[in-house]
């Protein structure tokens, strides 16, 4: 099933905000089930399994931390707790970034009449994330061959070496991507059309309703 990109955008906005407002004990499980449900209905089984494994690992960590002295475990449990809370957000973000194109997102927000500059920046951000992953692998490979491999044992050195090329690449890529968009009429004020059908379907409304009802149930009702 294909969910309307504007619904996915909405989910990506609502989920992280709701998580900031601690609700009742079921809040986390609701968001987790909801995000897993979205992955399921969009047919992303493989990704769901990966997230489930990651979730399992984090959960295991929580149990292990309980065995440590309380002063030590306090610091780490906080980190782990935050990671657990964020997994549903990451699941939603993965749908937005990996399954929707920049063009679809621009078309989806068209009816909202947002300023063009905002829409263009949003599209460039979404477009940049997958490129970043590729660039990261190039830089890592090059560090390995220079005899300074990216390693968690040398986090500061690794990060500082990695950051220099990454920052410069960012600025070059942003320029190039902007040029590509500009020469393809991205700034044209005409109402944008879409090759893919952008109409909201019953399923889209239904998903929104489930999310809103859920938020009502777990955040507002205690």
């Amino acid at each position: 099933m294909r969910i309307n990109p504007i619904v996915i955008l909405l989910f990506n906005l609502v989920l992280p905000i709701s998580i900031m407002f601690p609700g009742n004990a079921y809040q986390h499980y609701f968001f987790l089930t909801f995000a897993a449900g979205v992955l399921l209905v969009t047919g992303k089984w493989g990704r769901l399994i990966k997230f489930a494994l990651a979730y399992g690992v984090v959960l295991l960590l929580t149990r292990l931390l309980e065995m440590l002295p309380s002063q030590v475990s306090m610091i780490f449990s906080m980190l782990v707790l935050i990671s657990v809370q964020f997994i549903p957000c990451l699941m939603m973000a993965s749908v937005l970034v990996l399954d929707y194109t920049a063009g679809e997102i621009i078309s989806a927000v068209e009816p909202l009449r947002l300023p063009k500059a905002f829409v263009v920046s949003l599209a460039i951000v979404v477009r940049y994330i997958p490129t970043f992953r590729k660039e990261f692998s190039f830089i890592r490979e090059s560090m390995r061959l220079r005899g300074v491999p990216y390693s968690l044992w040398h986090p500061v050195r690794s990060f500082s070496l990695f950051l220099v090329p990454q920052l410069f690449r960012c600025s070059i890529l942003a320029d190039e991507i902007t040029s590509a968009g500009m020469t393809k009429g991205m700034t044209n004020p005409t109402r944008r059309s879409s090759y893919v059908d952008m109409r909201m379907r019953t399923a889209d409304y239904l998903l929104c309703a489930v999310l809103l009802a859920g938020i009502g149930g777990v955040v507002l009702w205690r």
């Binding site: 194109t101 063009g103 590509a180």
Partner: protein, 472 residues
């Protein structure tokens, strides 16, 4: 019919005293193919950006004179109006796509202009008839080969039915066969009455297709009325006629000891049972079409991949000079770049290496403030000082003019006095000048392995003919 005209056009970037382009006067008509030639840094990109409206849209500065598009003053047109008539194909295959999917890229511009789905489908249908893009549709752009990406870039530039097409170094990432295919596509477009301006350093694939040549030197434009008059001008061009070029062969040095031995390696479907040894003081060039297994072999040699079968013997890791230097420079200045991964390097050694490559004067400059050529020389300096016995160059001459290519030949030769060098290249001229030995990969197998000299140049030429035919 006149499509474009410039009258005394000049452009000065903001903050600069002298103009990047000045006194530009030309006119271009429909059905014309115009080669835009000029050394790196001469003002070619500024020229193309002036024609597609990116100047002054994203590059600020002072405009003088006038540019006309189909008789209309371009200064008064917003960029989205210019883009309706002027399609641009950029050089970099990574960043010229706005989406990550071939079909959505193809429709992206049409969506921006609010075309109906029906109209979009009809235009894609027509494009499919004109260009071999049918197999690309519905695929992820990351999975396309460089030739396919170039084709997609061209097709997406054409969806708005522009009268003028600007191509910026389209051959830089294409192998010989794809470059020859591009020639045929350009011939078709010329037949349809499109005005094509193509900026490139390699001309062989344009042989016999070019109507006029615009040579940009130091920011001024000289118009040659024919390909012949340009050839006769004495400008140090790269070859129009590859196989007819007359340059001395590389003088072989006595081969050193083997530095790496590859014994019957296979990897996925990309490489099958390849065996070879690389020797010190020898420059070997790997040739083959895109997808023949060249990159896989290089990644196996650098141990980024493990072979499925067979093994590789050799001490230490090779050094790889990547095509894109930006990924490889980590230092805060040119001199400190040499220290990375190589602490305690003697000052004299660093000075010697930088002086040899003309970088000593720039020792306090940040690597990212260097020009493309200087960055590459810095990579070579790092390679020369590294402990690696083998240095791999990935397409070192992609997008280089004749003078810069000759400079790279000299630098590779110097490096080969102490190390083994393996060059991955599509560039016939470069291979012809620099290689001691040629390795031809086809369908993942090592088809030929021979020393290059007057007796074997026919074999090399035959390989290039074979690569062109093989692309179908």
């Amino acid at each position: 019919m006149e499509m474009m005209r410039a009258v005394d056009y000049a452009f000065t970037y903001r903050g600069k005293e002298s103009p990047a382009l000045r006194d530009v006067r030309f006119s271009a008509s429909d059905g014309e193919v115009i080669l835009v030639a000029g050394d790196s840094g001469s003002g070619k990109s500024t020229f193309l950006k002036s024609l597609n409206g990116l100047i002054p849209e994203i590059a600020e500065g002072r405009l003088d004179g006038s540019r006309l598009l189909k008789g209309e003053d371009m200064d008064k047109m917003p960029i989205y109006e210019i883009s309706r008539s002027v399609g641009s194909v950029f050089q970099n295959p990574r960043s010229q796509f706005f989406t990550l999917h071939a079909t959505s890229e193809l429709v992206f511009a049409m969506e921006n202009y609010g075309l109906s789905r029906q109209e979009m489908e009809s235009r894609i249908g027509k494009l499919k008839a004109a260009l071999p893009i049918a197999p690309l549709l519905d695929r992820e752009i990351a999975q396309l080969s460089s030739g396919e990406r170039q084709l997609l870039a061209l097709a997406s530039a054409m969806t708005l039915l522009p009268d003028v097409l600007l191509l910026d170094e389209p051959s830089a990432n294409l192998d010989y066969s794809n470059a020859m295919r591009l020639k045929e596509i350009m011939r078709t477009l010329k037949g349809q009455g499109k005005t094509i301006l193509v900026a490139d350093h390699r001309f062989f694939y344009l042989n016999g297709l070019v109507d006029r040549v615009f040579l940009i030197e130091d920011g001024t434009l000289r118009v040659f009325e024919s390909e012949e008059s340009f050839r006769a001008s004495g400008y140090n061009t790269r070859s129009f006629d590859l196989f007819g070029m007359d340059v001395p062969f590389h003088l072989h040095q006595p081969r050193g000891d083997p530095v790496i031995c590859v014994d019957g390696i296979s990897k996925w479907d990309a490489l099958q049972d390849v065996s070879l040894s690389l020797y010190g003081r020898e420059i070997a060039a790997i040739v083959g079409v895109n997808g023949a297994g060249k990159t896989t072999l290089a990644r196996l040699l650098t141990r980024a991949l493990k072979p499925d079968r067979g093994c590789i013997h050799g001490e230490g890791l090779p050094f790889c000079v990547m095509q894109d230097a930006d990924f490889q420079l980590f230092g805060t200045c040119v001199e400190s770049e040499l220290d990375i991964g190589h602490k305690g390097l003697a000052q004299e050694k660093k000075q010697g290496a930088l002086e040899q490559l003309g970088l000593w004067g720039l020792r306090d400059t940040h690597p990212f403030d260097l020009s493309g050529g200087e960055k590459q020389r810095l990579q070579i300096a790092v390679a020369a000082l590294s402990d690696a016995k083998l240095v791999i160059f990935d397409e070192p001459t992609s997008g280089l003019d004749a003078k810069s290519m000759e400079r790279v030949v000299r630098e590779v030769e110097k490096l080969a006095r102490e190390k083994a060098v393996l060059v991955i290249s599509h560039d016939y001229e470069f291979i012809r000048r620099v290689a001691d030995r040629v390795l031809y990969l086809k369908d993942g197998r090592l088809q030929q392995d021979f020393m290059l000299g007057p007796e074997t140049v026919g074999v090399l030429n035959q390989i290039f003919v074979d690569m062109e035919a093989g692309s179908g």
